[in-house]
């Protein structure tokens, strides 16, 4: 394998804000360096490309020790929305786009965006549920085909 990374295929499998952003940042960062990139959305990670849900992705405030929030407080109604709102404001200051805009940016950068067939079947979704840039639904085998010759990153 060459010393230089020329291609990456990133799997986004989680549906929380902190589960989705790292993969998007890695994909966008790859394209910024001229590295070929694919993003494969699976399981709850599909929310990032789901037209009805991608604007409503939230930080998990329960069972998330990284927040250093008392467990009971994490479950208070509205806590997740509040923390998400605060984080979104901080991200905007750093010029990190909201998820829908970020996914569109990555698509425009020439990265391939794909939905996982098993998850689409499981959640009874169809291509129309997804944003126009990510309506190709592929199997795991097809994903490996697209990832051939590059690195695979699971998030």
């Amino acid at each position: 394998m060459s010393d230089v990374i020329e291609k990456v295929s990133i799997i986004i499998s989680k549906g929380s804000l902190e589960g989705i952003y790292p993969g998007l940042i890695m994909a966008n960062g790859a394209r910024m360096e001229g590295i070929e990139a694919n993003v494969f959305f699976t399981f709850f990670g599909l929310d990032a490309i789901n037209k009805a849900k991608h604007e409503h992705v939230k930080v998990a405030t329960v069972g998330n020790p990284g927040l250093h929030l008392a467990t009971w407080a994490g479950g208070v109604p509205g806590m997740s929305a509040l923390v998400t709102h605060q984080l979104a404001r901080e991200m905007e200051k750093l010029d990190i786009p909201p998820i829908p805009e970020f996914v569109e940016m990555i698509a425009d950068s020439g990265a391939g965006l794909y939905a996982c067939k098993a998850s689409v079947d499981l959640f009874k979704l169809s291509p129309e549920d997804f944003i126009p840039q990510a309506q190709e639904i592929i199997t795991v085998g097809e994903f490996y085909g697209k990832a051939a010759g590059g690195q695979i990153i699971f998030t």
């Binding site: 966008n28 394209r31 910024m32 425009d108």
Partner: protein, 105 residues
Amino acid sequence: MSTVMLAGSTVDVDPEGFLEHPEQWSEPIAEEIARTNGIQSLTERHWQVVNFMRTTYLESGSAPSIRSLGKTSGVPIKELYELFPKGPAKLAAKIGGIPKPRGCI
């Protein structure tokens, strides 16, 4: 830091070939950096991006992110990647004679 000869002038560059001193830059230098990075000739659209990067850096002290480049340079993101396939922000900064952008976005 090392010194190289670009378009007949001596300039200081970092290990990746970014100019250390933006004031040493000139348009012929930009053309030569572009050629060595796979862009045979700079079109008007290339210049629009390069000049925007350079002006923003000289005015604000930092290069714009790819997001603001797409929003405010007048060249949308899709076209940015067509113009600079090896990375628009990085390459436009290099051609524009400003330091490599350090942002992750």
